[in-house]
Symmetry: C2
């Protein structure tokens, strides 16, 4: 898989990729030669380019146009060629202030973050909230709302809440509910929500769970309370996709928007990279979003005090300003992590 390239080839490849990112137009040999401090003639560059084309790093849309980098080329560019820009002081300030102004509430912060990402990158910003499921259980509480309605509130050690209105068959008085709550709180201490869910299911089928009246009821209700909830996802700046000249045609656009509409797809995509640290980059087909759309994704995960993780990142065209977006994503992830672990 590794491709050996001479220093010169690499320099030329880099020049082509960057030129193409800047202009969105096929770049010709003379343009590269000019850009390349005049030390080479266009003819020489042409030879090198022919070479690169053979290696599958460049294509030409037609005979007498310049060359366009392939996804393979972007991969190499991103892995070893790109010179990352520093995050400017202005950008830093913007990231931080946006984080703060969002005020309380995880949702608020994350929504604001996705907007910031979109604004700074000029592409689409995306944030997936830390999954509640991985959080550590702290507290469950039942409140009687009416005859057959109970409100269950689940609090994670991080302070995240999940509440659910539960319809019951029997009527419970507050005393019952408190007892149930105490019992569960005792039992579930220190487990993650996912583990709690498993434990409840196990207990329900166990002997004790079947015959102990109170326990059996408590389990039944709490089972409903801890049911999985869809991950929260924030997408901002969808319209910016339309700024990209390569998406100006309607067919392509439609493909992309349809892909985005199934947020499930995005979640799946981002969850894949939850486990790795640092910035991760998916180029074109690697995103497994709509095949031919030329979409790339730059993400990083962020962590909270309780070690739950969420993902944030930027989606843009394959022809994306990697050199500036990568640092932005990186920095934002760090800032959000910091902010969330202060809480």
């Amino acid at each position: 898989m590794e491709i050996e390239l001479s220093t010169r080839s690499r320099q030329i490849l880099e020049a082509i990729v960057e030129d193409y990112i800047a202009t969105a137009e096929p770049v010709g040999s003379s343009a590269v030669a000019r850009r390349h401090a005049m030390t080479l003639s266009s003819a020489t560059v042409r030879n090198v380019m022919a070479n690169l084309e053979e290696l599958g790093l460049l294509t030409s849309p037609h005979t007498s146009a310049g060359r366009i980098p392939t996804e393979k080329a972007y991969r190499i560019y991103v892995d070893s060629l790109v010179a990352l820009r520093r995050v400017s002081r202005i950008e830093k300030r913007q990231i931080i202030s946006h984080c703060r102004q969002a005020g309380i509430g995880l949702s608020g912060i994350l929504k604001e973050t996705s907007r910031t990402l979109s604004q700074l990158s000029n592409y689409m910003g995306i944030v997936i909230a830390p999954s509640f499921n991985a959080d550590v259980f702290r507290h469950i509480e039942f409140i009687r709302i009416s005859q057959r309605k109970i409100l269950a509130i689940l609090v994670s050690s991080k302070g995240a809440l999940q509440n659910r209105l539960i319809d019951t068959e029997d009527d419970y008085n507050s005393e019952d509910l408190v007892r149930m709550g105490n019992y569960l709180n005792d039992k579930m201490q220190g487990l993650t929500i996912t583990q709690v869910r498993e434990l409840i299911l196990r207990e329900m089928t166990s002997e004790k769970g079947q015959y102990d009246q109170l326990l059996s009821r408590a389990l039944k209700i709490s089972e409903q309370a801890v049911r999985v909830e869809g991950d929260e996802i924030f997408v901002e700046g969808q319209a910016r996709i339309l700024d990209q000249p390569e998406f100006s045609d309607a067919g392509r656009m439609k493909e992309i928007y349809q892909a985005f509409e199934q947020k499930g797809l995005l979640v799946q995509l981002l969850s894949r990279c939850m486990n790795a640290d640092g910035v991760q980059i998916y180029i074109g087909a690697e995103t497994s979003l709509s095949q031919s759309a030329g979409i790339s994704l730059i993400t990083s995960r962020f962590v909270t005090s309780s070690n739950t993780v969420g993902m944030l990142g930027v989606i843009g065209p394959t022809r994306m300003g990697y050199s500036s977006v990568i640092p932005i994503v990186d920095y934002t992830a760090r800032m959000v992590s910091k902010l969330l672990s202060e809480v």
Copy 2:
């Protein structure tokens, strides 16, 4: 404002509007004559069309193209010409089954509803959840989460919840919290959330509110608990806009998507029509979405058992299939109302 039209003019206008809705292309006099059971020649139709153009109901994109209806024409068409289709049995079944399958949870039902609207209409479906603010207060409860964190839970008479984590300056024990809760529950019975909010603010500045320690604290905390929350909104089928030929060009599309991105705008738009009963239709500029975009909106409100109202509807091009979408919106609103009042 009322425009007098002869029966024939009206018939011809109707024919033009419907033809244009079907084809998205300027419709010429001969096409109308043909469609019109041959009882008139194209020349006559031309005379009438010239007349309609003078009245501002038609425009021609250029000299030798057919005519296109103006927004004014759509208005007349919708108000008095359109023959509403019945909702077919298949559509009814789909609406109902979608409602049911969504399972519990207001959010789930509404999300599913917006999807159904989009699918049946082939345009964009939109639903705004009943505003909590108009609900009647039923119950407030404070739960101590940690030293300086209190969870406030607000329940409306409809069963809707709003909870909020509140940071406090002092440490409260559970007893304090129960007393505070009881006090407030007593006092606020029967008011709407909005009224509760007002009452709290009034009390805070009142003499008693300033000097009674417990009361003052209770007010401070509950003030945070009842703060306004953004209305929930569900939009589905954004990509379908791209099916419309009139939006195939990138500039226009971008305008539209940018408009949609500020969901606040949509909320504002839809809230305007919360007070009127039945289906309401906004054509083109009447939507006060992006000026020139040629967007129309068909909405109806739905009600719940406790008389809170939400809005649902369809957004599509001005050139929309009114005759089928209007009944769909109407029927869906009724069904959702029915479903929600059963709960």
